[in-house]
């Protein structure tokens, strides 16, 4: 479902060339859930961005849903994302001027879906926000905002879902609930899940954990809490 080969990301900085990712290769199967973990600045988010086609590697290739997204242009990657990819962010990224319902409708409208409102309403019900459809983000709590974001991510029934610190802005109880919701929906929709997190519990729920250190994949991968060779 998601394959990366020899990913390297370098940026120029005042101190010279800075290598953020160094020859990263990985393979993630259909319906698999993978946590990217590691210390701050290790390159987790950069890896996520490249895997999702939001950024381009300096070297290396990425195949998403069988298509080489590193060979595509920005618009090609956008079209692929529109059909098959969902996102959940640490800071929710809801459009402040739109209601919860309208935020969830956005990807449907982009795809030209005629029943956008009905589908969005249904999805909001799935995340337990039926009573909040007309609320604006600033009228919602952090947990509720993230639930709207999750509804928005799942509303297109994506094949791959990328989540960047989805519980990072929430207290632990709320984070826990959000984590559960994310995995429940994931299991139900058989979505491939790639998430960046600092939360051990959240990482532990994943089928597999990939540890990134200084831009490189650490030798040992952890599978359902077990290190495999």
């Amino acid at each position: 479902m998601l394959r990366a080969a020899g990913l390297t990301k370098q940026v120029s900085s005042p101190e010279g060339i800075l290598t953020i990712l160094d020859d990263v290769s990985l393979n993630i199967g259909r319906a698999e859930s993978v946590a990217l973990v590691g210390p701050s600045g290790a390159g987790k988010t950069t890896l996520l961005a490249i895997l999702a086609g939001l950024d381009q590697p300096t070297r290396g290739r990425v195949w998403l849903c069988g298509e080489d997204i590193t060979a595509m242009d920005e618009d090609g990657r956008a079209l692929l994302r529109a059909r098959r990819v969902g996102f959940v962010f640490q800071s929710f990224h809801l459009v402040q001027s739109l209601t919860a319902l309208e935020n969830v409708m956005l990807p449907l409208e982009l795809a030209g879906e005629a029943r956008a409102a009905a589908v969005a309403r249904e999805t909001l019900a799935n995340v337990g926000l039926s009573a909040r459809v007309g609320h604006y983000p600033r009228q919602l709590s952090g947990g509720e905002q993230q639930r709207v974001a999750i509804a928005r991510a799942f509303v297109m029934r994506p094949e791959v879902l990328f989540a960047d610190e989805p519980t990072g802005n929430l207290d632990s109880a709320t984070g826990d609930r959000i984590g559960r919701l994310l995995f429940d929906l994931n299991a139900e929709a058989k979505t491939t899940l790639v998430l960046v997190t600092h939360e051990r519990d959240l990482a532990a729920r994943c089928d597999r954990t990939i540890r990134i250190e200084a831009g490189r994949v650490e030798a040992g991968e952890v599978e359902a809490g077990r290190v495999v060779a």
């Binding site: 079209l79 956005l106 990807p107 409208e109």
Partner: protein
Amino acid sequence: MKVLGFALRAFRRDLRAGELSILLAAIIVAVTAMTAVGFFTDRVGGAMKDQASQVLAADLVLRSAGPISPGYLSDARALGLEFAETLAFPTVVVAGEQTTLAAIDAVSDTYPLRGQLTVADTLFGNGRPATGVPLRGEAWAEPGLLGRLGLEVGASVSVGERSLRITRVLQYKPDQNIGFINLAPGLMVNLADVPSFGVVKPGSRVTYNQMYAGSDAQIATFRKQLTPRLRPDESLRGREDAGDQINAAIDRAQRFLTLASLVTVILAAVAAAMAARRYALRHLDNIALLKTLGATQSFVIAVTVTELAFVIALTSVVGVLLGYGAQYGLAVIAAEFVGFVLPPATGQPFLLGVLTAATVVVGFALPHLLSVGTTPPLRVLRKDLPPPRLSAAVTYGVALAAIGALVLVIVRDPLLLGLIAGGVVGTAVVAFGLGWLLVRALSRFRGAAGIAWRYGLANIARRGGESVVQIVAFGLSLMVLLLLGVVRNDILKTWEQTVPANAPNQFMINIEPDQLPGLKAFFQAEVGQEPVSLPLIRGRLTAVNGTPVKEVKVANAQGAAFLQREANLTWTGTLPASNVVTDGTWWGAGYAGPLQLSLDAELATNLGVKVGDSLTFNVAGEDINAPITSLRTIEWDSFQPNFYVVLSPGVSADLPQTYLASVFVPRDRVEMLSRLVRQFPGVTVLDLEVILSQVRAVIDKASMAVQYVFLFTLLAGVVVLLAAIQLTRDERRFESAILHTLGAARRKILQGVAVEFVTLGSLAGVLAAVGATLLGWGLATYAFKLEYTVSALLWPLGLATGALIVGITGTLATRKAVNEPPIAVLRDR
């Protein structure tokens, strides 16, 4: 279709969320200002044209020395034109023992087609607008005629074989000749009475006039039909040919109004650009999000362009409606003040409104919004990614091109466009330079005072480029404000001074040389001032360089017209004050040598003659020949008697001549004029007060219109200021919240804000003063041909106004942001 639907929803949501409010408001202000000015100037322009028509009493006049073909009138009728006929001839009028030469004006019932007659019931009584024309058997006499004949209203006079009862004093008629050529006082009669006089016979000196009025298009068509059919003795005079002074006044009025609409557009466009930039910056994250959700770049751009099309449509409609309302209010107030009714507006300003909205959106909003369309989706993960930067060349190039095109459409005057563009670009360059220096220099003063001071200056310095942009924006709008508030006034005053308050208001002609000393003594005794007098010699040009005029090829129609008529000549040793010699040499006071001529330079061009050529004039049957030794330019709107042809003194004193005299008589002393008329019966007095007040009324109306129009522009300037402050609002909210959190008191933060805005305003004020001075000078000198001296007020006023307006408005507008609870602000981030 997908784009349209998405854009429509986005537009609706943006409207509802108030995201577009500032941008919409700015564009609506632009369109409202533009169309209000457009509708109003359209109507004022119409009124101006009517004023010019009044000088003719029609839109077009056909003049002939013989009876005019009646075919012309049926043509005019076929085209739907209004028409009137008049007949003018001199004849002796008798009242008892008294006789005098009078200029008879026989008019048809529809006269005048434009303007109004002013009549009074007693000699020098209060005038009022007349209804209709004299009835058959009645006559309206000019004051001079009553004075000469010693008559009052109600008396009878005989014209030829007919006795007429004088029922009114005729104080003013629109087509009053202000060229001082009518020697006899006038008597207006009904055209239908003329045959009964028995004085108009073949060979009589009679001028036949047919007058026409209608729409511009009708008149143009009619003129085109008529021109090829005219006999040599028939001539056409249109509105555009009407009196030089009126034309000059109207020309300036229109330039003024044009300038007014121009600055409004520029100001409002600046506001729109600021609003668009703010909107764009606020939408960076949303656009990155849309792209993450799968929107392509072209989709984002298409949606942006479509949404902007909705913006244009909405702002056009709302702006034009508001603009029409605003101009209507202005017109009503203007009418109430000056007592004239404006003609209805044409539909043209509507198109102008749409064009304005489109220009402002495309030139000022689109670049900002399109550049945001290139925001990378990665921004959803990396907030620190800088927003896509628009190159300055693109921003300002597109804006200048758009505004330049619009301005050119409006003013159709590349010179004026060039001056405006030069002033704006020059100020921007100077402003950016000075702004940059200030921002750099500020760091030195940061430690100078308390925390408020440091915070305020730090704000300016830290925002670097943005501060410079703000200074430029403030500077530009302030410059325009100064241009309106001070320079406009200066130019207006200079303009009004071209009509001096004590301009001579009584002109006397037909003064015999031996009457002159007595006349001077009369005025010395009555008003303590001798009239200025000049000899008046009537002569007709008969030959150029010895070639009879019939065989002379003149340069143009005006030259040909000069050959057709008796010219007024004068002689003098001293060059008249409003004249400047441009070629050759003036003979100088005390010259007594052979006869020389000095010509108006324009007349020389029209006739195709130059210094060194000789002209022959026939004066009272005798030919006089003299070389042209100098050419002069004449300031015709000086309201002093001026002559196309001036003779050198000496020999000229022996030519048959009368005198022309002019003097200022205060309004409360005009009753003495009836004594003058009785004491010097041959002298014709022309009360120019009436004519001058007519001219001044035109100027007043123009000034009034200009001031209303500028009032609107001032409003646009204030909106720019608010838009500029709005641009940095989000940042300020956040900063204030941080400072609050760190324990700063609201008062301290407000003080810092005040320091920042007062400093910004002061600098903007200096920049504005520089710009306004340069621009004002350029406009006055090149566009309005007026002498302009920089008002001493301009600079201190610029500085103080900048500091005050920007300081107070900035602080007030920021107060809300500063006062918001920090937690609410910080949570928003």
